[in-house]
Assembly symmetry: C2
Homo-oligomer: 327 residues x 2
């Protein structure tokens, strides 16, 4: 009996000791700490991988995350939803902004109350949010240009179908055009068309481009429905394989064309990564784990977090397309 | 006796249960996991906050970090040091690169062996490193311009002393010049001089600028010894307060001039932040905590980490200068 008692005592002491050490991990929170993701047009597929990333971080940290947002593309609605979330006094808010300025006041109000706010995908740059995680659209365009060049031995005329006047598309287009001009002396952007974010318009633009430029070896479309339109036109013109298409994003229509080989590659954004590191950043702020300066970073006026994170892109081809369905 | 036994049994079971839950934290490593920071000119003050940040992350994660690097500004020496570190098969390497291409081969070799590599401060962009954390020099120049504008009610002639031909300085200068041109119609960059990374040369350039532009209200110096030189000249010309100086980095000479009010502000880089999140990134790779896609991100060819992190800058003035001594 004494033997058992001793054994049990040992186990108890060791366990308490062990759990004591491990429980001290500053990277473990409580399930009572609730973090929110707030979006707009909250029902679309696009936000799902971002929230999955946030959930993955929350699981590792032992905290709770909740998803909400404005149902519609409506500024006042998003302001209201954000204010309702702030009223719950959450541990932190990971926010994507319908517009750069509309959410500035509630964001700054939350931060004044001590609720950390980090933005992702679309920013409010003049607000006091601590960090912003998003795709560098320029870099994504650079990557598209390099991949298209690789497919064509760095030679030939290429085209671009984009949405002029819309900042993220202008940036993708600029990254593509400047890379072709600067890095590939034997390549040329022979035609730039407006896809109007519409399949039929993009198919027409692609058809016209094929007629005007019979030697075209490839095209970059900066948006998913543009890519699907271009794919339809290239297929109809019986030019699959002769004209390489690089598209953007990973909706089902695009992935199906990648799978069937009409679209050669599409650019997947790092939305999961935005959610994962966004939650990590919020947890660090909420638990005051960032001491870039001895003493108090608030008094020292030191930026506690990275100002901006380019979450990067991945190239989706026939070889890895299966992984992207249902993401 | 039975009562005690029962109590002990309960404690043991609870403790084991508790420690089981807590010990399962995926964000706790082992002290046997050793991560390295590898630099060049390894003895300078500049790397210290970066390694402090790496140590802070290691403490939170329960792992070990070690510091090493090439003593001199010598490419072959850094290659040798890096290869020696790789031979130890560490859990990960946080590396700053003496030159963009020299370390590409050992970096890729490490990654092939399964040793994750992340770069900071200076990159090897064509290597397979998973991420790069650094100051956006352009953004730092933007911030300098905005602060100088704020000090002068967005009016007046300003100057710039930089190092033409050196990429990071060209970027800081471009951020400054473009921001003044685009955001402040009543301001003008009246003079751009070469400070030659030398105090005496910068003092001479500043002196000449003051004579040629008697209405000058401020100057941005993109480097620390340039700032100290400019401060000396402004002091000698008895123009302290009339000509605002915004400098760069936080060496003792610069901070002393901030403290005495000759330099109005200096830009502090987020080197601590590079070290902290660099270690976090490496830990996540080493422990396979990143699942941006169901299944294996390596097979799916998905970027597991942010491509680039702009660690941001902080503005150091008389008000917060004390925090930056000895950092």
């Amino acid at each position: 009996m004494k033997k058992y008692l001793f054994l049990l005592l040992t186990v108890a002491v060791l366990s308490v000791g062990f759990s004591g050490v491990v429980a001290a991990s500053p990277l473990q929170g409580s399930e009572d700490d609730v973090y929110y993701m707030v979006t707009f047009v909250s029902g679309i597929e696009y936000w799902k991988p971002a929230f999955k990333g946030m959930e993955a971080a929350a699981k590792n940290l032992g905290v709770t995350v909740k998803y909400t947002g404005a149902n519609d593309y409506d500024i006042n609605q998003q302001v209201t939803v954000l204010e309702q979330v702030i009223a719950k006094k959450p541990a932190g808010i990971l926010l994507t902004c319908i517009n750069p300025d509309a959410l500035k006041r509630p964001i700054n109000g939350a931060i004044e109350q001590g609720i950390p706010v980090v933005t992702f995908d679309a920013d409010s740059p003049k607000s006091d949010r601590y960090s912003f995680l998003a795709t560098s659209n320029y870099s994504a365009g650079v990557k598209a240009a390099r991949y298209l060049a690789e497919l064509n031995n760095e030679k030939g005329e290429v085209g671009l179908i984009t949405i002029p006047g819309q900042l993220n598309h202008e940036e993708r287009a600029a990254g593509f055009k400047e890379t072709i001009a600067n890095e590939y002396p034997n390549m040329e952007v022979a035609s730039v068309q407006d896809g109007k974010s519409d399949q039929a318009a993009s198919a027409a633009a692609m058809g016209a481009m094929l007629q005007a430029h019979p030697n075209l070896v490839g095209v970059f479309t900066t948006e998913a429905s543009t890519g699907v339109g271009a794919a339809t036109a290239v297929k109809e013109a019986d030019k699959v394989g002769d004209v390489n298409i690089i598209s953007f994003d990973v909706d089902k229509g695009t992935l199906d064309f990648v799978k069937s080989g009409v679209i050669d590659a599409t650019i997947a954004q790092g939305t999961w990564t935005m959610g994962y590191w966004g939650e990590m950043f919020l947890f660090h702020l909420a638990n005051d784990l960032l001491t870039p300066i001895d003493g108090d970073w608030k008094t020292a006026k030191v930026a506690p977090l990275p100002a901006y994170v380019d979450t990067g892109v991945s190239i989706v081809t026939k070889d890895n397309v299966e992984y992207f369905y249902g993401k």
